[in-house]
């Protein structure tokens, strides 16, 4: 697997209810400038971050549609080619946690079966306003057998770790499916993953 990592580029997407802090997590992770006192410019370019993992550099291309939650744009095309999905909820907002199930369903419908997931509870800095206990978050993640972590985009706590965990989960999964092709494939025909699977005579 080592040679795969040399040019490893993963596409990660972040989803969750509006105001759950998705963009803040991304900003914190990419720029590490959250709540800086200096007015700095946030561009609108897509986020690209390199992560060092056991002397390997993994490129992370992170996609975020923060602000567009109310649009039904998060469709197959958004999930297509995704390697990992980060589902974010706000530990002080019951509604955002209620939506977690919906997101898991969406992923199973739209994303390729190879995708890895992580459940992230944000805003641990607001401990006194917490509505969702760590245990509840953990249970939700366990029932979908995916990793779980609580972070604070404001303080930066665990933000990097969350992304590392997602990458780990992906590495783990790809080891199990050795023949998995890692090249980004252009969509040849209008077929979804289940058909692709069938057409190609079941590659995985």
């Amino acid at each position: 697997m080592s040679n795969v990592s040399d040019s490893l580029l993963l596409k990660l997407i972040i989803i969750g209810r509006s105001m759950a802090g998705k963009s803040c997590i991304l900003l914190r992770f990419c720029d590490n400038k959250f709540e800086s006192n200096l007015g700095f410019t946030i561009g609108v370019d897509f986020r690209f971050v390199s992560l060092n993992k056991n002397d390997e550099t993994i490129g992370l291309q992170i996609w975020d549609t923060a602000g567009q939650e109310r649009f039904r744009t998060i469709t197959s095309s958004y999930y297509r080619d995704a390697d990992g999905v980060m589902i974010v909820y706000d530990i002080t907002d019951e509604n955002s946690f209620d939506q977690v199930d919906h997101w898991f369903d969406e992923i199973s419908k739209q994303a390729p079966p190879s995708v890895v997931k992580i459940l992230v509870g944000n805003k641990t800095d607001l401990e006194n306003k917490r509505k969702i206990s760590t245990e509840r978050g953990l249970n939700a993640a366990n029932s979908r057998s995916c990793p779980f972590i609580e972070v604070s985009a404001k303080s930066g706590e665990n933000v990097k770790k969350a992304f590392e965990m997602l990458v780990d989960a992906w590495t783990e999964k790809s080891k199990q499916h050795i023949t998995k092709p890692r090249k980004k494939k252009a969509r040849q025909k209008i077929t979804n993953e289940s058909f692709e699977k069938k057409d190609k005579g079941n590659c995985c």
């Binding site: 509006s18 105001m19 963009s23 803040c24 900003l27 720029d31 400038k33 959250f34 709540e35 800086s36 006192n37 200096l38 007015g39 700095f40 410019t41 946030i42 609108v44 370019d45 897509f46 996609w63 975020d64 549609t65 923060a66 602000g67 567009q68 939650e69 109310r70 649009f71 039904r72 744009t73 469709t75 197959s76 095309s77 958004y78 969406e106 419908k109 739209q110 969509r187 025909k189 209008i190 077929t191 979804n192 289940s194 058909f195 069938k198």
Partner: protein, 736 residues
């Protein structure tokens, strides 16, 4: 017959032979023989005769047969003839029937056409009626609005009059009060003077009394002590001196002056009226003018003394709020500059100060007006601007310099007000408008009637100008709408309408919402926050429209049970997609793509498989253009190159705003982070520029109605149906 002849000949010959043989010995035998022969011949002849007869019989029979055949043939011929005749008859009848049928059909057709015409006529009439009804209603509505406006105007006028009346009344009361006060003071004064006079009188009397007494005494003394004259004379001189001194100090005039000067220091008190004169019979107008001038003078004075109390009502008076003219000079505590001419952050006073000062600080008015609602309210802004208008004089400038400086600042303030009204009129609630009018009428009109009128006209123009946009639609190059024949039929369905026309009407409906989005809707992520959502009405309507549209695509496709039908509908939608792109309606393009990419539709392998190649190519190309790759690079470039009119896909811009909002603090210390607002205004301006130019297309009410009310299925329902019509792992044979 020949045979018979032969036979007779043979017989004759035999007779000869018989005769020849009779001469021979054996004559008897011969005779017998001959007999026998004859017998034989006879028999033979008989036989022959029989055969002949037989033959004849046969011949007869044959003839008979032939005759029979002939007869049959003739009969057949006859039959044939009859048949033909019948056939002809039938043909004739058939033709006749056909003719009848044709005539009947023709009649039916005529009847149908007549009915259709009637129907059309009816529909037309209905339509006309509806139209008339609509126009009537519209007129009524207009009338109502006009009346309402009229009433509103009258009400306002009345209010205004009432207000002015009250004001006048107040002023009058104030004047009367003052007058009374003056009267009182005057009376008091008079009283005092009277008392003083009395006192004087009393003193005089006392004095006189005293003098009299003294004189009496003197008299007595004179009388009693005439002898001591020398001593008495000296004494008399001293006494006289003392008396004059006392009179000096009690000069009544001087005394009154002093008291007047020491009157309680009230800035509103008029100078005391000339003493001992009754108040002059004043011309009320003149009096008012005077008062106003007086008030104005006082205002200026007041500002120096009691700055922040002047304009602020109790409700908005906050402790940390500093009167704009009390704001200290530039320092790090109130302003941060990115460079010489660009503000990075500042407090509200400084922002307004720079906005209305001679030097240009690159605080573009545009940016400020677009974003100020993210850090203050329209009410506060107006208050601050009015404060700023009242320029106080500084100690180290002369009158000329002051007048000049004042003028510049005041013009700048009016400029801000004008731009504000012109470009963001929706910020002005009734309450704020009232305040603005107060300022115009009471302050501005005093200084410059022309400017006041101009500003007032700007407001009026805005109030009236709401309907202006609609008139622009009456342009000449509007393409003829592609309306189907059954447009007035209640059974009109979108399947009847041309794809291009659907795209056009969709675009008109969407532009209508898009053009109404206000800058304040895009501030503070209002569309995402439950508490601010009321502010983002049109943004939310736009999102709703987007979702309805994509739901419409998936529902319509999924509702087709037959593969053939699905293919046709999907192809139609792909054509609509193409037309939407031609109209630069990125919002609809994205919404339709979202519909095609929804899990329920995307998985319909067999349906997609039958779509014409060209349509698939268009789809692929647009999907590439609108893809979220590199933060919607394709879309951003397409948008840049677009020739308006255009409807942007709002989502991308909302994401940009979200990143700017979340990535940058609102305040730097306690200063407003203005560079953040600058960035936000860039995004807003980018959206706004496309709101200016509308589509030159003819709206078709009937089609728009179909495009407004979608009956969409839920997402789960759609997906379930999708699994039903094309089950997982199904073969093409299984699919209908």
């Amino acid at each position: 017959m020949d045979q018979l002849k032969n036979l007779k000949n043979k017989k004759k010959r035999s007779y000869k032979r018989t005769n020849l043989t009779r001469t021979t010995s054996q004559t008897l035998t011969e005779k017998e023989q001959t007999d026998k022969e004859e017998e034989r011949i006879r028999k033979e002849l008989e036989e022959k005769e029989r055969i002949r007869k037989e033959l004849e019989e046969k011949e007869r029979i044959r003839k008979q047969q032939e005759e029979e055949e002939e007869r049959i043939r003739k009969q057949k011929e006859e039959e044939e003839r009859i048949r033909k005749q019948q056939e002809e008859e039938e043909e004739r009848i058939r033709k006749q029937k056909e003719e009848e049928e044709r005539i009947r059909k023709q009649e039916e057709e005529e009847e149908r056409i007549r009915k259709q015409k009637e129907e059309e006529e009816r529909i037309r009439k209905q339509q006309q009626q509806q139209e008339e009804e609509r126009i009537r209603k519209q007129k009524e509505e207009e009338e109502r609005i006009r009346k309402q406006e009229e009433e509103e105007r009258i009400r306002k006028q009345k209010e205004e009059e009432e207000r002015i009346r009250k004001q006048q009344q107040q002023k009058e009361e104030e004047r009367i009060r003052k007058q009374k006060e003056e009267e009182r003071i005057r009376k008091e004064e008079e009283e005092r003077i009277r008392k003083q006079k009395e006192e004087e009188e009393r003193i005089k009397k006392q004095e006189e009394e005293r003098i009299k007494k003294e004189k009496e005494e003197e008299e007595i003394i004179k009388k009693q002590q005439q002898q001591e004259e020398k001593m008495q004379k000296e004494l008399e001189k001293d006494e006289h001196k003392e008396n004059t001194n006392e009179n000096d100090t009690e000069n009544p005039n001087q005394n009154v002056e002093k008291i007047t000067l020491q009157a309680p220091p009230s800035p509103r008190v008029l100078p005391p009226p000339p003493k001992n004169l009754p108040p002059p019979p004043v011309n009320p107008k003149l009096q008012k003018e005077e008062e106003k001038i007086q008030e104005k003078k006082e205002k200026v004075i007041n500002y120096d003394e009691k700055p922040h109390l002047r304009f602020e009502t109790e409700e908005e008076e906050s402790l940390d709020d500093v009167y704009i003219w009390k704001e200290p000079n530039d320092s790090e505590s109130n302003i941060l500059l990115a460079d010489k001419s660009e503000i990075k952050a500042a407090n509200l006073n400084k922002l307004i100060e720079k906005l209305t000062s001679q030097q240009n600080y690159g605080v573009t008015l545009d940016t400020f007006l677009m974003t100020y609602q993210s850090f203050t309210t329209p009410k506060k802004l107006l208050t601050k601007l009015i404060q700023r208008y009242h320029v106080p004089k500084t100690q180290n400038e002369n009158e000329d310099e002051y007048a000049k400086r004042k003028k510049v600042i005041q013009i700048k303030v009016i400029n801000v007000c004008t731009k504000w009204i012109e470009n963001h009129f929706s910020d002005f609630t009734e309450k704020i408008l009232k305040e603005l009018h107060e300022f115009i009428d009471q302050t501005l009109a005093q200084d410059d009637k022309l400017i006041a009128k101009k500003l007032r006209d700007t407001v009026i123009k805005k109030q009236k100008g709401i309907d202006k946009k609609k008139i622009i639609h009456e342009s000449e190059n509007i393409p003829e709408p592609k309306v189907p024949k059954n447009i007035f039929n209640s059974s009109l369905s979108l399947l009847d309408v041309d794809e291009e026309e659907i795209a056009r009407q969709l675009t008109l409906v969407e532009f209508d919402i898009f053009s109404q989005i206000k800058p304040s809707e895009l501030l503070n992520q209002a569309w995402s926050k439950p508490k601010l959502r009321h502010r983002a009405k049109n943004v939310l309507a736009m999102i709703q429209r987007f979702n309805d549209l994509s739901g419409w695509v998936s529902t319509t496709i999924i509702n087709c049970d037959k593969l053939k039908h699905r293919v046709r509908v999907l192809t139609r939608f792909l054509k609509i997609l193409e037309f939407c792109r031609q109209l630069n309606n990125f919002n609809a393009v994205m919404a339709l793509l979202a519909g095609f990419n929804s899990s329920a539709i995307y998985r319909l392998k067999f349906t997609w498989g039958e779509i014409p190649r060209r349509q698939i190519e268009v789809f692929d190309q647009l999907e590439k253009e609108m893809s979220s790759d590199s933060s919607y690079k394709g879309y951003r470039e397409a948008l840049k190159g677009v020739n308006p009119p255009c409807i942007p896909y709002l989502g991308v811009h909302l994401t940009d705003l979200t990143f700017i909002e979340d990535g940058n603090p609102d305040f730097i210390g306690n200063l407003i982070n203005f560079s953040k607002r600058l960035q936000i205004s860039k995004v807003i301006r980018n959206i706004q520029q496309y709101q200016q130019k509308g589509y030159e297309l003819q709206p078709v009410h009937q089609i728009q109605q179909l495009l407004i009310k979608f009956k969409n299925l839920g997402e789960t329902e759609t997906y379930d149906k999708s699994l039903k019509i094309e089950p997982r792992n199904a073969d093409i044979e299984d699919i209908q």
